[in-house]
């Protein structure tokens, strides 16, 4: 559906809605983003994950053409000039902003009008979408009278009121209560069902885990991972907790478990690859050790994210230690 919309508008068909290659932004001595590459397929939900200050916002700003990269290239909706396809993009910036003196529907219509939507149609759609999101009681209220969360939802509606093909949301969940977070997730799913591609940044893993088809993890200005949620989770081994039958000899148990297994109060804990699960079960049942308790848990996206970020941080610390050692040696 999306590709046909693109074709209708006379733009060269492309496999990806967003393509970025080696995006780099340097401010003075500080490298804000270093060689980040992304590819977002049409109709997908793509997450850009990273700790605070990792370079997510700068990457999104470069993608959208708000700022130009120092190196690298980007291609949005088939165009090398992101600014030429502005009207087909919806964007919610990290720093929320609305004119406090404007009424909600006017603010939505204004944002739509900037992207080429008729004012009257913008007001109509705005009121409709507010009702859908349970905000009908503040329709026509001035922005300054809204709570922060409500204002954020109004801004989100303003960002998508013109029914864009690509929706870019920078930290859309921050500042929202759980109810509104759920509404926002539903809205993202609905927009994807409409045919839009959604690209969003976050550092809250639960949303990414539920929403994303694919994701990229950025840490220390560089992309450290790209793939599906499952791919990310597969980076870490399965976590196993095993309790043998009472009275079993610990040494005998240890002999049947992977190296590094640790026992606490009779419960053994160890990690194994996904491929090692079945052999383990065969081993345990055939060993006569018995099974009083067994849990095999896949790691969450949160664990994978923390693991990746810690690895990156550790490598930086290692570099500096090496540098210090080298200096000492000199």
């Amino acid at each position: 559906m999306l590709t046909s919309q693109i074709a209708d508008k006379g733009v060269t068909l492309t496999e990806f809605v967003v393509e970025a290659s080696g995006l780099t932004k340097i401010y003075g001595q500080h490298i804000a983003v270093n060689g980040v590459s992304l590819q977002v397929a049409p109709g997908s939900i793509y997450g850009v994950l990273g700790p605070n200050g990792a370079g997510k916002t700068t990457s999104l700003r470069m993608l959208l053409g708000i700022i130009d990269p120092d190196r690298g290239s980007r291609r949005l909706l088939g165009s090398d000039r992101p600014t030429s396809v502005r009207s087909r993009i919806g964007y919610l910036p990290e720093e929320r902003g609305l004119y406090p003196g404007m009424k909600t529907t006017e603010a939505i219509a204004f944002m739509g009008a900037l992207r080429g939507l008729d004012w009257h149609e913008g007001r109509r759609r705005g009121a409709e979408m507010m009702a859908e999101l349970g905000l009908e009681r503040v329709t026509g209220e001035k922005i300054r009278k809204l709570s922060k969360g409500m204002a954020q939802m109004v801004q989100l509606i303003g960002a998508i009121v013109h029914r864009p093909e690509l929706i870019v949301l920078d930290e859309p969940f921050s500042g929202l209560d759980p109810v509104n977070q759920e509404r926002l997730e539903a809205l993202v799913h609905r927009e994807r069902a409409r045919g839009a591609t959604v690209l969003f940044s976050t550092h809250v893993m639960a949303h990414a885990e539920r929403l994303c088809d694919r994701l990229a993890i950025i840490a220390r200005s560089e992309r450290r991972f790209e793939g599906t949620v499952d791919d990310a989770r597969a980076l870490l081994p399965m976590q196993v907790r095993y309790t043998p039958r009472d009275g079993t000899d610990a040494a005998a148990v240890a002999a049947h478990l992977p190296v590094g297994a640790q026992c606490t109060h009779g419960e053994w804990r160890f990690a194994i690859d996904a491929a090692g699960v079945e052999p383990l079960l065969v081993r345990l049942t055939g060993s006569g050790l018995g099974v009083a308790g067994l849990s095999i848990a896949r790691p969450a996206l949160h664990d994978a994210f923390v693991h990746i970020v810690r690895q990156v941080d550790a490598s930086y610390r290692g570099d500096s230690e090496l540098a210090a050692t080298a200096e000492d040696a000199a």
Binding site: I26, Y27, G28, R61, L64, G65, I66, I67, D68, T83, R86, S87, I89, Y91, P93, E95, R96, G97, L98, Y99, P100, G101, M102, F110, M111, A113, L114, R115, G116, Q155, G158, A159
Partner: protein, 421 residues
Amino acid sequence: MSSFIRIMTVVARRDFLAIVATPTFLLFLLAPLFMLAMGLVGGMGAAGLAESNRSTGRIVALTSETNVEALRIADARQRPVVGQFGAPLLEVRSVDATPDEATIRAVFAESGSDTLAVMVGPLDYPRIWEREEGSRSGRYLALIAEEALRDAATGANAARTTAQFQQLAVAGPSNAARQTIGFGAVFVLFFLTLLLAGQTVSSLAEEKSNKVIEILAAAAPLEAVFLGKLLGFLGVALLFISFWVLLALVAGLVAAGMLSGAAVPAGGLSAAAMAAAPATGWAFFLGVGFLYFILAFLLLGAIFLGVGSQAATVREIQMLSLPITIFQVGMFGLASAASSAPGSPLARMAEAFPFSSPFAMAARAATDPDRLVHLAGLGWQLLWVMAVVWLAARLFRTGVLSGRGSWAFWRKAALPELTKL
């Protein structure tokens, strides 16, 4: 409608309504009333002071008894000739001998009124002491001394010249009047731009403080946003001007209705007023003057918008007001000098310098009948509006949006970005 123009009008509409649809706009609209009231109070004070000065000033003649009456007669005859403000009150005192300097100093030091000049000695060779060298008061004392001396020689009843004064309406323009009109145009344009264009300096502050700027930057070319803001403010300015023009017209009609028919000259404007028409004619002059106002507004507004967009805080914006006002006054000074010397190299420079050009060209329309030159002038200024807006948007993008810091656009890293198309 191209997307650039559409975005421009969307931004202009938002800004126009955001300013006009507030109670504070009424205060802004009525601000000239306060200025008029203040001016009236100030003018009354100044007039009172001037009147007070006149009533306390005097000139003194210390002369022999025989000359006292002659001087008074001469004063009575000459005073109407020199006019109401031509000479201070005359005080004639009889003295037996020519007073010495100490006596004269004592007269100057007397309290009650300022002594502006003192005449002593014989009428054919008087000595006049004056507070200011070359003063009119001193010359007037010399004049009545000569008059009294002539009376003594020819007799008070001798035949005298009786002049009749009659006004003659001279056909053709007066160069001085045209220059005055030119200066008037410069002043009006300066006043309006000072009042209205300076406001654009703070126009991006709202977007920055509300964080709307990133939405605008993502959705639209910043040049269109900047131009839209300028247009929005121009709309406010035109509304302001329309309001006052309308008010003046209504006041004029009411005043005309209150006057009796006999009080209005049969021919409408007097011949003198007609002679003071600008060289290009009133219709063209007013029309092109209006266009120059728009361009002066856009030009100066674009500068202020660009400078103001670099400011990060309200305090910085306030700090920018003084240099901006000084800049405006500088342009006014340059254009004023040009209006008083039409055709001079200075005038040509003021006409060519983009930021004084609208003022100087409006003044030129009053003194130079060439109309085509204004097409070039308007085009030249429009070009500069575009250039300034483009540069301002670039500075904004490379400086503020990139997070480099508001005034760091001159850094090496930013300069290449400025040159990118």
